[in-house]
């Protein structure tokens, strides 16, 4: 059976926000225990990923290879914790595995590996490659006359890669309206502000010029995310880019909009403080 939510309106919003909170707590605990990883970009993408998994995606955790499933590709693979947390919460993987992140012998590699984890559609991590792969999956869906959608989250820093724009042209030329991309636009990359390093602005005009339908939203407003996904799924004749303005480290006050939290994990003290902010008083019981 496929996962579907029948909720609507405020109940749906609250349900998705709860899922996002769970994912945020898991991201903090996973990276905290691992002692490494990328919490900032995982937290900025959390609300989007929650809406994709619990609202948009037609999928069945009991049949990860179900032919008609919608596909989700985390092109910004360094945000692996957000994906792993979603896969655990939806039931693709055992929750206990989360706490082995990045350890020797763990299926949860530093960047997602499709050969090791059920539900990981494509191995990613080398930036810029997920969108072209998503194009291939969208093309295959058309060839096979299957009506699945392909969702992919790319980073704003990742958009500095040339392959992203090759793929942007490819998707528009082949009118891949089964492809929905989301830019997690948090304006931070490893070396600093995206706008200082090599500005990708204006993101919306660029994608529009490349022949995409563009929807601009606040990437932490669940109602806006849901509305954008609805619009994207209905649109015909063009691929869709959802430009989601986000905050790196969203949900943890001392991590928000701080470049330092791109690729640094919280130590135990910071992990406990972050989980407290996320409503967990005793981290050992989470």
């Amino acid at each position: 059976m496929k996962v579907e939510t029948k909720l609507e309106g405020p109940e749906l919003t609250e349900f998705l926000q709860e899922k996002a909170l769970t994912i945020r707590r898991d991201i903090i605990k996973m990276t905290g225990i691992a002692g490494s990883g990328h919490p900032g970009g995982s937290l900025s993408a959390t609300d989007i990923v929650a809406a994709i998994y619990w609202y948009a995606l037609r999928h069945d955790p009991n049949q990860p290879k179900w032919k008609e499933r919608d596909r989700f590709i985390l092109s910004k693979g360094h945000a692996a914790p957000v994906l792993y947390a979603a896969l655990a919460e939806t039931g693709y993987i055992n929750r206990d595995v989360l706490w082995t992140l990045r350890q020797f012998g763990s299926a949860l590699q530093g960047h997602p590996d499709m050969r090791k984890v059920a539900g990981v559609e494509i191995s990613t991590g080398s930036l810029g490659q997920g969108l072209a792969i998503a194009c291939g999956i969208a093309l295959a869906g058309r060839l096979d006359k299957l009506d699945y959608k392909v969702y992919t989250v790319i980073g704003d820093g990742e958009s500095q890669e040339g392959e992203i724009w090759e793929a942007a042209m490819l998707a528009a030329h082949y009118k891949l309206d089964n492809l929905i991309a989301i830019t997690d636009y948090n304006d931070l990359q490893i070396d600093g502000r995206v706008s200082d390093i090599k500005d990708v602005c204006p993101v919306d005009d660029k994608w529009r010029a490349f022949g995409w339908h563009v929807i601009c939203i606040d990437g932490h407003d669940m109602d806006q995310i849901v509305a954008a996904l609805d619009e994207a799924r209905q649109l015909k004749g063009k691929p869709v880019m959802i430009e989601a303005k986000t905050i790196k480290g969203k949900g943890v006050s001392f991590m928000e909009d701080m470049v330092e939290w791109h690729g640094v994990a919280p130590n135990q003290e910071q992990m406990i403080a972050a989980l407290k902010e996320l409503g967990v008083d005793d981290w050992t019981s989470w």
Partner: protein, 313 residues
């Protein structure tokens, strides 16, 4: 003997047959489909042909995505762009995921000719050979290319098949059928083993003829599959002759010469001479001029054999 034909023609002919036989074969190219011959597949099976424009990186990505959905993908382009420009896409999007993508670019080596060094791939075998999951095949003539391209659809995982621009005189009969991982002994000899791939197989046979006139008995092996090597056939020959020459239209670093040196160094140390392009780029000229310039002729192989025998008597 049939007329000379290019290995790239074998690719184009094989694709047409594969298109009929296997509904899940998809062909991608990056604006070189007239040169690779993939355009003919595109005309016959327009839905299953994807021209990605001049964009090799996203071509490899799209192939990976299609393969993730059960397609068997063949990608074209020229060897220098397919393996060089898109190397990291091949590594992470294709080889790391062990996808069914068969990378079959044309115009490898210096026989590209007048286009010059920027377009002459002399390092592609080295690049592809070091990737886990990747297999490497270098056909010597049309029929070898055609049967290898067809066989690749049934060999699991990513494969690199190196194809060339010029027409080459066949070294195999029309009844030839490619066998994955098997080298072929084309001529039996006892004094020296000549291991060749691609267009150099024909040169090796000519060299063996000349050496025979001088009383030197050369064994000629068409290696065909550079990875995995047919260690059994190669080692049996070198155990007999005690010395080896490698011949390839590729850098002497990292290609067949590298692979054979590694094998012999570990399993049967023996003197080796590598015929190939030195540590340098190509340049413009006719194919024949360039083969002479880079010392890739039968005469150069024969000379290497004489030297090797002289020093190792």
């Amino acid at each position: 003997m049939t007329k000379p034909r290019a290995t790239r023609e074998g690719y184009a002919d094989a694709l047409l047959e594969l298109g009929e036989e296997l509904p899940n074969v998809v062909v991608l190219d990056s604006d070189l489909s007239k040169s690779t011959g993939a355009a003919r597949f595109g005309k016959a099976f327009p839905d299953r042909f994807i021209n990605c424009g001049v964009a090799e990186q996203s071509m490899m990505g799209a192939a990976a995505g299609l393969a993730a959905c059960g397609k068997i993908c063949y990608t074209g382009s020229f060897a220098v762009f397919a393996t060089g420009r898109a190397f990291e896409q091949i590594r992470n999007s294709i080889a790391y995921c062990n996808f069914e993508v068969k990378i079959c670019p044309s115009h490898a080596g210096v026989t590209v000719g007048q286009d010059g060094g920027s377009h002459q791939s002399v390092e592609d075998i080295a690049l592809m050979r070091c990737l886990p999951n990747m297999k490497v095949i270098v056909p010597a003539d049309y029929i070898e290319a055609k049967t290898a391209v067809k066989a690749a659809a049934h060999i699991s995982g990513p494969i690199y098949i190196r194809l060339g621009r010029p027409a080459v005189t066949p070294v195999n009969g029309d009844d030839y059928a490619f066998e994955f991982g098997r080298a072929r002994v084309l001529r039996v000899g006892g004094d020296v083993t000549i291991l060749a791939i691609g267009i150099m197989v024909g040169e090796a046979l000519k060299a063996a003829d000349r050496l025979a006139e001088e009383g030197i008995s050369a064994e000629v092996i068409n290696v065909i599959t550079v990875k995995p090597l047919d260690e059994e056939t190669i080692l049996a020959s070198v155990r007999k002759t005690g010395r080896a020459i490698t011949a390839e239209e590729h850098s002497i670093i990292g290609g067949l010469g590298g692979a054979i040196s590694e094998l012999l160094g570990e399993k049967h140390p023996a003197p080796v001479k590598r015929i190939g392009i030195g540590d340098m780029f190509g340049l413009s000229g006719s194919a024949d001029e360039l083969l002479r310039h880079f010392k890739l002729t039968a005469g150069d192989i024969a000379e290497a054999a004489r030297e090797l025998l002289l020093y190792t008597q």
